[in-house]
Subunit: 444 residues, 2 copies
């Protein structure tokens, strides 16, 4: 139970100049110059907690106003439902900009949804800390009815009712203890995206792949989609280094139209990719279904989800058999709450969840969700793994621990969202030390 | 051709306290207290022009920075493609927040997409003024190839290629002159939403319907979805007043889950609605398809689109036979550019376009698009009409002209986007005269 009243919320603009080394480059952003991280700091009673979202520029009256009136009396559901379900309470005669914004700049997508998710991530972190547990353990120990009370079933009851979700969670109770033990001993399997960003030279790629193999990695992702001949060369290079048995995934970062995706991937089929990720627009459910239908016979699955903006899109991707691997994101969906609904729908359709991570702190957060998923929902590791990108962890108070290419379950209380104060200070844009130097060098 | 360089862009927060009279109330927003209008004012050379978008709070460096570097040398395409296609130019070593925002807070949805649309609306207004024509006429007279150069075909080539679009426009040349004459004489048919907002009393409803009939209206829309018994009473009341021959539409404003929508509308079928609008989440393409399949046999079509965030969603609604009436919105899609692609796709699928309007200034803008659609694309009025809401027109420099329940084609140059300076000043939030008084009365 989280108790308290939100007294203050502040937002900081924190950025990392990762592109100076082409880290993070892909077919849509060859020079991914800055990673953005803007943590809203939530002041609740005496506690202080950090989570994040993608850009909101400064402290904003839209969010501060209504949020400061919300008391947290039970669990994040109350908070969630008031924020996400368009602030349904009709008490005031002049409702806030926030309320309008939720409906009009969206609904349930874009900046407002992302900002809401960030605030809710902070609330979940706080709740886990108040219980003295890491978030995954808070979820694993939670009574199924309580868990379900955190889910907004609006718009998904045609594929998942609350009763069906309850049955899934009840079945998940069987063998839970053993699976928790398994996680604590072996961790959750990961794959690496750090070896093959699009902007890396062949030499860098070779060197990083060779090193990753030595470090025990068995699953690798390569960025594709900018130039077919380049892709063929790079995929051949990687396949030769890792050998025929290791797993290779490809990621096009939304680069193609539907027919183009099918054609391009047919040319890369010889390198035996497990999946093609984000072949086209993340909004194109029917497009992904068409691509799946064409590629599954070639042994290639479709993976997507990191930019799917809400549970309604995931629902349809499952209904349309548009994906073979479902990639949740801890900061794009409406926090833990909305991710819970997607994990349960994926279980119903028996589609493996392979979370998106990387970015800044995404690994830290999403490991909690996927470890919970294994212990309490999916009960399977078949065809499942969580993305891992080896950068920026040093800025977090509770960084991920990777052993034998697996995420080891976090032991510290909370949702692993907190950044180190020194890192935040140094990387604040534009006044932090790092940016002052870089901007001065640019003559800006 | 628009020539110039953008020197300044400013945004104002303008609101109207429409809910004081329950105008605009629906099943999701019973007290729609404020209408929002935030016009970015674009300063281009010596010209000044106004368009709008849904909330962006204040002048913002994200937009100001990169935009001020853009020269407009040919047509809005250059501007459009740079803004919408994720600012593909890779000149700078520290790309702007805007560029990241386009990809990350979206893509092509939410605040950034809406803000981009607003800026583009201003550019189109400017272009039409430089040509000395109302926007609809600029479009009608434009060479088909030039028109096509304004469209981003990314992600839609699986249903509409540039060549197919060209053929549609070429066919549209036949009889164009006659249709232009027809528009100038008779105007484009409209329907009214002003009689039956959800918050109106039965007496108000009776009185407004009776008056609207006297004024020549033959097509009426009623808000439904909050309470079935209320809906039955109100629909019976309206049907009795307007008689069995007049057209009645219903609008649920996203209130229902999929099975609920089918059940609820089956109960309202006796009142012979032409369509049910926004029965569920605007993201739920497959849900709309299920609802359509169930309701079309009852003689009820499905209408949606006012909150469809981009052409990819419209593409799928058409592919899935998920709607029988397609409702474009002049401010949600990426301006004229993205609307052109949707009009052409609708034509290919032979689905009538019945634009969303109302709000603040939406009628003023969208009339240009639908008049162009009739003259150059659809060449048909069958099952077609444009929404009309009778409020807030007095704040515009070039307000719509309605005659015999039809939109008469605007004659002034531009896109009818400009507000009166006095109205902007008075309704600025929170310092305009209107808000100062209201907020003082609230003791705020």
């Amino acid at each position: 139970m989280v108790c308290g009243r939100i007294s203050r919320l502040s937002v900081r603009d924190v950025r990392f100049p990762t592109s100076l080394g082409s880290h993070g480059s892909d077919a849509m952003q060859l020079f991914q110059t800055i990673s953005l991280l803007l943590p809203p700091v939530l002041h609740l009673q005496q506690l202080e907690d950090v989570a994040y979202c993608i850009p909101k520029k400064t402290e904003d009256k839209c969010t501060l106003g209504p949020i400061s009136h919300i008391s947290l009396q039970t669990n994040p559901l109350l908070f969630y439902s008031r924020l996400m379900q368009k602030m349904d309470s009709r008490g005031t005669e002049l409702p806030s900009l926030w309320e309008k914004a939720l409906k009009l700049i969206g609904p349930e997508k874009g900046a407002v949804h992302l900002a809401t998710a960030a605030i809710l991530n902070a609330v979940w972190d706080l709740w886990a800390k108040q219980e003295g547990k890491p978030l995954w353990k808070l979820l694993v120990d939670m009574d199924p009815r309580m868990l379900l009370s955190c889910i907004d079933f609006r718009y998904i009851t045609d594929v998942l009712t609350e009763e069906e979700a309850y049955e899934i969670l009840q079945k998940g109770q069987v063998g839970k203890k053993e699976r928790e033990g398994q996680m604590l001993t072996h961790g959750y399997p990961a794959y690496t995206t750090s070896c093959a960003w699009l902007g890396y030279s062949d030499d860098t790629l070779k060197q990083l792949c060779t090193q990753a193999l030595k470090d025990g990695w068995t699953r690798f992702k390569v960025k594709v989609g900018a130039d077919l001949q380049d892709d063929i060369r790079r995929c051949r290079l990687i396949r030769n280094i890792i050998g025929p048995e290791k797993i290779l995934m490809m990621d096009a970062n939304q680069r193609w139209d539907v027919p183009e995706a099918v054609e391009w991937m047919s040319s890369l089929a010889e390198f035996k990719p497990l999946w093609i990720e984000e072949p086209t627009s993340p909004d194109d459910i029917l497009g992904h279904a068409t691509i799946s239908k064409a590629l599954v016979p070639l042994g290639i699955g479709v993976a997507t989800g990191e930019q799917c903006h809400n549970r309604v899109i995931f629902k349809q991707l499952l209904q349309a058999q548009a994906l073979q691997f479902l990639q949740i994101d801890s900061c794009r969906l409406g926090s833990v709450n909305e991710n819970l609904s997607v994990l349960l729908m994926a279980k119903k359709f028996e589609i493996p969840v392979c979370p998106h991570a990387g970015g800044v702190g995404l690994c830290e957060l999403v490991q909690h969700l996927i470890i919970f998923d294994f212990i309490s929902v999916s009960a399977s590791l078949e065809n499942r793994m969580c993305e891992y990108v080896d950068h920026l962890h040093e800025h977090f108070k509770y960084p991920v621990i990777i052993k034998n290419a697996s995420y080891m379950p976090p032991q510290d209380a909370g949702y692993s969202t907190e950044m180190k104060a020194g890192s935040v200070k140094k990387h604040q844009y534009p006044d932090g030390e790092v940016w002052k130097k870089l901007l001065a060098a640019q003559g800006n």
